[in-house]
Every structure is written in structure tokens, then in C-alpha cells.
Subunit: 440 residues, 2 copies
Amino acid sequence: MREVGIGIAGFGTVGGGVLSILENHAREIEARLGARIVVRRVAVRDVAKERAVALHPGLVTPRLSDLLDDREVEVVVELIGGTTEAFDLVAGALRRGKHVVTANKALIAARGDELFRLAAEKGVDVYYEGAVCGGIPIIRTLREALASDRIQALHGIVNGTTNFILTAMSENGEPLAQALAEAQRLGYAEADPTLDVSGGDAAQKLCILAQLAFGARLRPEDVLTEGIMQLEPADFAWGRGFGYALKLLAVACRVERAEGEVPGPDLIEARVHPAFIPQASLLAGVRGAMNAVQLRSDALGPSMLFGQGAGALPTGSAVVADIIDLSRNIVASSPGRVPLPPSTPRVQLRSHDEIRCGYYLRFSVKDVPGVLARIANTLADRRISIAAVEQRDQADGGGAVPLVIVTHRAREADMRGAIAAIDRFDTTVAPSRLIRIEEL
Amino acid sequence: MREVGIGIAGFGTVGGGVLSILENHAREIEARLGARIVVRRVAVRDVAKERAVALHPGLVTPRLSDLLDDREVEVVVELIGGTTEAFDLVAGALRRGKHVVTANKALIAARGDELFRLAAEKGVDVYYEGAVCGGIPIIRTLREALASDRIQALHGIVNGTTNFILTAMSENGEPLAQALAEAQRLGYAEADPTLDVSGGDAAQKLCILAQLAFGARLRPEDVLTEGIMQLEPADFAWGRGFGYALKLLAVACRVERAEGEVPGPDLIEARVHPAFIPQASLLAGVRGAMNAVQLRSDALGPSMLFGQGAGALPTGSAVVADIIDLSRNIVASSPGRVPLPPSTPRVQLRSHDEIRCGYYLRFSVKDVPGVLARIANTLADRRISIAAVEQRDQADGGGAVPLVIVTHRAREADMRGAIAAIDRFDTTVAPSRLIRIEEL
């Protein structure tokens, strides 16, 4: 039977998952593939370390270069993370005509283009299903199942940590700090949760998805990104009253140019931020650390994929599915069967100022005559149209009352200008809160 | 540029969708495929008929055999439906070494094995993503993304007609006849809706999915199948009180043998029936004519795919995705890249008598002393354990009162015996209603 030799770099959580799936399901994989996947080398930082999944000592090496030098390694599986050492390893593998499977979202988001170009030159493949949403086959679906379709919008819950926190805040009325501590205790959040709670992790994933869905080329820093640290239990309660659930969404969508915008190629918006979405929507039902990606496309209409976004076995199974797919290409001598995304962008990113959304605004104001009129005038001056207003009598300790306004779609720069003006009023007692609304 | 010649048999709704996608997205498809898909022949029953999507007259033929005889047709796209003429066409194509794409669930459910065997013999491919759940890439996901995983359970809402009807009954309290008439008026149900409302269509789809998920070989008549015609608005209301939504589910799952069951190979249950599911589950949020399939597997854990199950463009896009995938195999000379399901079954079907479920039971009984005790004794005699009871005072016109019992998991044959006995009581005034419960 034909053997496909692989070399694994990095042997943490996902590496252990990959090896245990390869071992436990070897017979099924052989039957479905008609070939045997053989682990030739495993490169680890600390050879002496005790591991949950046992490694044959003859396989283990502390040198990444051993994977490159081993002629029997046809596929390099990169699981070391980061963008420097991992880049050198992947680029080195491609240069030597080896195929690559990676679960490294930071690497693909930051330097995917260079790697894809190199792979195309060398006639080899790069697979990266595990880099986005763990076990959800979103990369495969975008590359293959939707190959004949035109995607209009993508809305994703792509970060399990923040979805766990927001679910706890919503269902138990917990403040953010408490929900975050709970997530850390259960292992859903890291000791330093910055990358997750800032929206940065979601922005990296969005860049990868937007390239496949729209032919966009974005860097994470291009994406309008807002995290969840500003959210308060009160916002969940107010939103519920308007029929909304609150989620951290990654959004990329085609948009029409508004009057006055500079003409040019097709335009998309790309943003990561807390968003109110209809309670009856499927995305609102995605609870805890689960992930989901909703698509809207011309032929298929609305569709959604749901599953676990992280973890040894979910991400491991995505990596193994990639190894199997690559092995099929190797066995059939058909590398490059599904082309990697082109490096010339096919769409342009709308500037943040021009983004359009509905908004939920929560003001803390002094309970004196004329306050609502002044705020309403400030919004009207910037052509921001009000859909609903709610003011509650009960003043909090400082004599302030909450005033909540839901607006129709408005221009981001106009909204920022209005909020800045309102926050300077002497009747405004705390910075105003702004949460975007997505009707999906 | 390499051309891949296709011949389309049948040009109804889906055929029109396929051609319009191929035409409208020709440039994207060429770019992604590196080859051009060219329609060489279209076989239609009535050549003279006016069509929404225009056909070049030179392409059209009334003879299916023209597709087989045309050496430039490399892929036959079968969209004529049925299991006789379609079987002859597909088998004829395979025998001549042509690849096949079909959206014909009845054909694959009834005679897929013969066709898969023939395809393997001839070294050609059969693709059938469009046969199940229209645009949802469930076949591709089961064959490829989950290639390294072991599936434990599959729960699907795979029939849009019945889901539309049940959504209307649930949300508007409509009786079934009214919801069905509305579905017919809107084109979601056919003039003769039997195949949909009986569960027969869902059973065909379940056979196809269970083969991919478990290596089962089932005929639709092997599946325990109950339709929706017995459901009444009262059941929705009672279920809601217990926290349940009511859906027509297609279920296939691995089960452990109970004590006393004959030993043998791995065991699965396969059934299609109305089921109460938790209101907070994602499947409960699948509304109207939409479809969804939820999987539970060892590595991935829970996952779900959601989308439109029917229609010219959703199903057309699945067919075109298959054509593109097949074309990649043709261009790379790698037919049989993903093997078709094996014809030797790897699991055995549990007999209907041995199926285990929770049950919701609704009795109509005379309001006389001792009725509840008699029913409870009858259940207890058959080791059926009660989880909840609710009786309401208000008698209906005939002096009967409703009595609802929710049971723990019980054996199907025991439950049928109990119901038959209870229906013979002189205190029972109408046939008892039974709805299975799936906790998902």
C-alpha cells in the first residue's frame, strides 16, 4: 500500500489530537484513502517533556530542520504557532517541494499571500482548515462547495472565548469581569485574554475568510475592530427589550457605494464588534464556546455552519481531514487541484468612516428639561434617523438617568461626530455607549 | 484552455438553475477551475416547450441516447428524476466511461449501490450532492471533512415542506389542513403532498445519509417512518409547556445493544417521525422551508449545517459544485479520488421493536375515578417509567379530559403494547396520541 509520510512540527494540544486521531482511526482512513499515512518525524521544543499522547522516541527531534531534510516527509504539518519560526518552516518546506498543512491563523492572516505564491510556484499545496473555527469545515465550504456561487455577506461567531463570556453575561446577568474569570477557570480563556476580548483573534480569522469569500486582501489592522470589554449587563437587558441578543460578530459583506463615495472596484465592509442581532436568528442561539458562520450568497441564499471552534479533537480532525485531502492529491498526482486564493485583490475595503449600520446608543444624562431635544437635534443635524427611544425614570446614584436610542442605518463618521458632540454636553454624565445592530 | 463537455438530461426547475449558474458565473468558474465547462447537449422530453432559461436549439435533443453517443460529453448530468429511465441513463453513461452528476434522491436511495459498483468497475465518478438537502453541502462534509471522524448520531430536518407546515402550526396555531393548503398555495407543497407529509421523502434522504455516515445499507422501507398528518395544534401547545418544539426529524444513530438483544455487528437506529426537541436547541430554530442536519461525532463533537433544501438555485448550485469537482478530477486525471461508499454494510439496523425513545403520550379519557391509576399500572407493567404527568380539568364536548404523560426512555414494542391495551379501556374515548422525544 502506498504510504504518505508526514512530519509534525509542534506537539501541544492540537498535535496530540492529530496523532490520536491518526492512530485511533488508522483503519478507516486507510480504507477511505487507499493509502497509509505514516508519521516520520515529530519536532518538539522539549524532547524530554512528558506528554499525554505517547510519542515513539525514534520519531522525536528538537530540530525543525530535520523535517525539511527528511526526504520521506512529503507533508509538513505546522502546529508551532507564531509568524516567524513558523513562516521559515512553512516557506522552507514549500521551497523543497513539500506540501503543508497548518492550523496557524496568525501566519495565514499575516503572510498567507507570500506562502500561497511560493506554493503555486513550486506546484505544491497549502491546506489550513484548522486555522479558522477549528472543526467547522468553513474553508472547504468556501473553496469548494460554494465554488460556483457569489457570496454577499458573511456573519460569524468565530471566537469561542468571547461567546462563552457573552452567553454567561446574557443568561446569568453576570458582569464581564466575573464571566471572564469563570472562562479562565474553565480553560476557555487564557491568563492574558487580550487577543480574544479585544476582537483581535476574530479579526485575523475574518481576514482569512474574506479572502476566500470575496477575494479580499486584508490585514487584521485594516478591520474595524472593537472588543467586548466595554459591555455591561444593562446593555443585554435593554437589547432584550428591543428583541435583540448581543454577540461578538465578525462581519464581511459586499456593499453598494453610497452617493458621494469615490467610485472604484467592488466594495466590501470588514468589521469585528459586539452586535445586537435578532433573538429569533439562528446565530443568537449559538451558546457558550461554540462557533458558527452564516453566509448569504446568490444561489444558495442563507446558510450556516455550526460547531466547536477549538480544542484538541475538533481542530485535530480539521488538520487530519486536510492531511487526507492532501494525501489524495499526492496519490493521484494532482497537486494544486483546488487553487489557492489569488494574490491580486478583487475587492476594495470601504473606509471605516463610510461604514453603515443601525446603532443602539445608551446615554447617561442629567434629568433636566431639554436633554432629549438636544441629543435628538445633534443626531438630526448629522442625518441620523431615530427608530426607537426609551427613557427610564429611575435615576442611579449620581442623579443620572439612562436614555436609550435605536437608530436606522447611519454613516459611521456621522455617528462618531454626534457621539463626540453629545459627550461634551454638560448634561451628559458618563461616556455614551454605542453598539451596532445587524439585522442579518 | 481545457474544455470539459457535459450533457444535461432533464431541464425542469433544477436544470434551469444549473444552466443559469454555469452561464452567469462562467468567468469565476474558469478562474477557479482552470478549465471551461461546456454544455454539449441537453435532452428534454418536449423540444418545442417555451422555457424561462433559453436553450440554444443546436444543443437540444429529445433522445437521452444522444448524450451517451456524443463522445464530447464527458459528464452526464441526470435531472430527469424517477428510478427507471434515470437508472438506464446513469448506468449507460457509467458503462461508457462517462462520469455522472445526479440530484435524484430516489435513484440513489433505491439503486445507488448498483451504480456505485458499476462506477468503481469503470473507474469513473458519481456525484450526488444535490440529491439531499439542496444547497447544504452535507454529502461533501460526510465524505471529506469528516473523513477522519466517527459519527455517533445524525438528526436532520431534511424536508422543507413539512417544516414549513409545522412552523405555521406552531407559530400561528393553525390546524394542519390550513397550513398544508397555505404551503400548496406558496409552492412549498405539491398538489399531491403524500411523499412529503408521510415522511417518505425524508426516509429516502436518511438512507443516503446513513450510508455515508455509518456505512449502513438501508432501503427507505427499512426505516421506521411516521408522517405528520396526525399532529394537532393541541400537541404543539402541550409540548411548549414541557419546553419542547415539534419537528419532523430524520434520525440515524449508533446504539448500544440492550440486555437481551441478539449480539452482532455495530447497531444503528434509523427513523423518521415527528419529534419533540428542546426549544433552546438550534434545530428548534430552523423555521419555514429551511433544512438542517446536526451531527455528533467523536472528534468534532456537535456540529450543524443549515440552508435551503430545495429550489432551482440552491439545488442548482450543489449540482454545479459537483460538476466543478468532477471537472477537477478530469483535468487532473484523478477519477475516484474520493471513493464511493462501500456496498458491504458495516452496521446492522436495530429492529423497530427494540428502538428506545422518550415518549409524549396524550390520552382522551373519561373523567371518572381510577383512570390515571389504570393507565399508570399498564405502563408500569411494561417497565415504562413516567417523567411527568399533566391532567386538565376542562372536559371537551364529549365529556372527555386530556391526560398527558411524558415518559423516560422506553422500548418501542413495550410502548406499542401499552398503548394498544389503553386504547381498549372503556374509559378511553379517542385513540391515544404518541410523539417521540429527542433530547439531541
